[in-house]
Symmetry: C2
Subunit: 101 residues, 2 copies
């Protein structure tokens, strides 16, 4: 009567799984918010890659982008949304489920 259990692999969130985005999510998960430059330097990617990947996460509503000014210079900062934190925890749990403990 029971369906074969679905392998946890199917629950991996591919938006979160890619190395760069995984690193972005991880960095944001521990900080309230991070500036573009700090994030870029922390995970060591180019401006264009960070900008693009952040846009993908923003569109998915996992990340909130806030634009402001530091004096007269523009400043972009990113933070996880509640949905982003939920997805992040679930993704880590799925990885543990697959890895088996």
């Amino acid at each position: 009567m029971s369906m074969p259990a679905e392998h946890p692999r199917h629950k991996l969130n591919e938006l979160v799984h890619s190395p760069v985005r995984f690193s972005i999510m991880a960095a944001l998960a521990r900080a309230e918010s991070l500036d573009f430059k700090d994030l870029r330097d922390a995970i060591q990617v180019s401006d264009s890659v960070l900008s693009k990947q952040l846009a993908i996460l923003e569109k998915a509503e996992y990340v909130k982008i806030k634009k402001s000014f530091a004096g007269k210079m523009p400043r972009t900062s990113a933070s996880l949304t509640a949905a982003g934190r939920a997805v992040w925890s679930a993704h880590l749990q799925t990885l543990r489920d697959i890895a088996g403990g």
Copy 2:
């Protein structure tokens, strides 16, 4: 004087990181060896996907493929090599390093 520490993201093994191969490695990490069909059913992929991904892991020498017979029917089984186990542990550690704990 100190170089900025390299982000652990750079140590992710892309051969191991893809969802299907990650699942294969995980499954093999807990079993001494698994038959093609059992592996296919466990991670729920098509024959062709499993065959190809296994070939990639075999070429990298992370997996050993053994062909034998079950009665008169061919049987293919896979197991991790020592290198495969080492790479698997290192990859999990890298994920933890990125996720931070």
